[in-house]
Amino acid sequence: MTEPKGRERWRPTRTKLVASGIVIGGFWLTSLNWWFLLLVGIGTFGPGVLREIGWLHDKDEFQRHADQRAGYHAFLTSGLTAFVLVPFFRSGERSINDTQELATFFLVLLWFTWLLSALVAYWGAHKAAARFLYVFGSAVLVFTIISNIGPEWTGWAALLMHPLLAAPFFALAWLSGRWPRVTGILLLAAFIFFLQFFRFNLERVTDGVTFILFLGPLLAGGIALLLAGKKTEDPDDADELLITGN
């Protein structure tokens, strides 16, 4: 047996580059007209449609399997949510004030569920959970720093103390590889804590979007780690990054 040789550096495919460009361009152009959001849809879902009709063959069987499984998870999540929301709004006690926000909520739920499922399939539960937490912690760190500088300068003490809020997320990311089940339980506890702390009012759809983007990774990471259990060391772990859903 020989020593494993260096792995090849990951590079995005042409499909990913083109689709990502269309998505980014579409988002940017929505500042001119909201109809440009169609480009975002084309960039996000277009390659998948082309693969299903057999015009695009850029993914191998494992990647297609992971995509289809993630799509099934998104279908289940969105469907169940719809069957909760319909009686919620048709019970006669509530009404939908923001139909466009409701559409946005379902788009975010659909895409985010797909993304989380695909990432777990590609990276495995441990690596996916660790990366969620590193991204989360980094976002909290950046947010707390930005909110403490500039015109709303709050002093050096606040600038040094507030970023410490990110520390638990980095700590959990480190722990996830060593004690995955413990980390999973802590993530679920964090999910419950933030659920109470932010007092999400799910009658407001914007709160629903924030709930998905902020608490979704905590819930998904916690469940994934609890189910995955102890990590087996593997020096050949792939390190490929999925940027968009394409």
Binding site: F62, Y122, D236
Partner: protein, 75 residues
């Protein structure tokens, strides 16, 4: 009672004996390295076509790469 089957894979062992990296094997059978990794870790069961390609690369039978592990509750 419904039976449950797990697949035991010997792809990694064969690959190391052949002094091959995951990327080299992936290139030989036309898939990504991630796919080979997932097969070796038992996270993904390849299609018949891919299993046959892998067997052809190592010049062995498919059964020497993948074996069935029957569950305890078989009929």
């Amino acid at each position: 009672m419904k039976s449950h089957h797990d697949i035991q894979t010997f792809v990694r062992r064969r690959r190391l004996l052949a002094d091959m990296t995951q990327q080299e094997l992936a290139d030989r059978v036309g898939v990504t390295r991630q796919t080979i990794l997932s097969i070796e870790k038992g996270k993904y069961t390849p299609s018949v076509a891919l299993a046959l390609c892998l067997a052809e690369v190592f010049d062995v039978s498919v059964e020497s790469l993948f074996q069935l592990k029957k569950g305890e509750n078989d009929d």
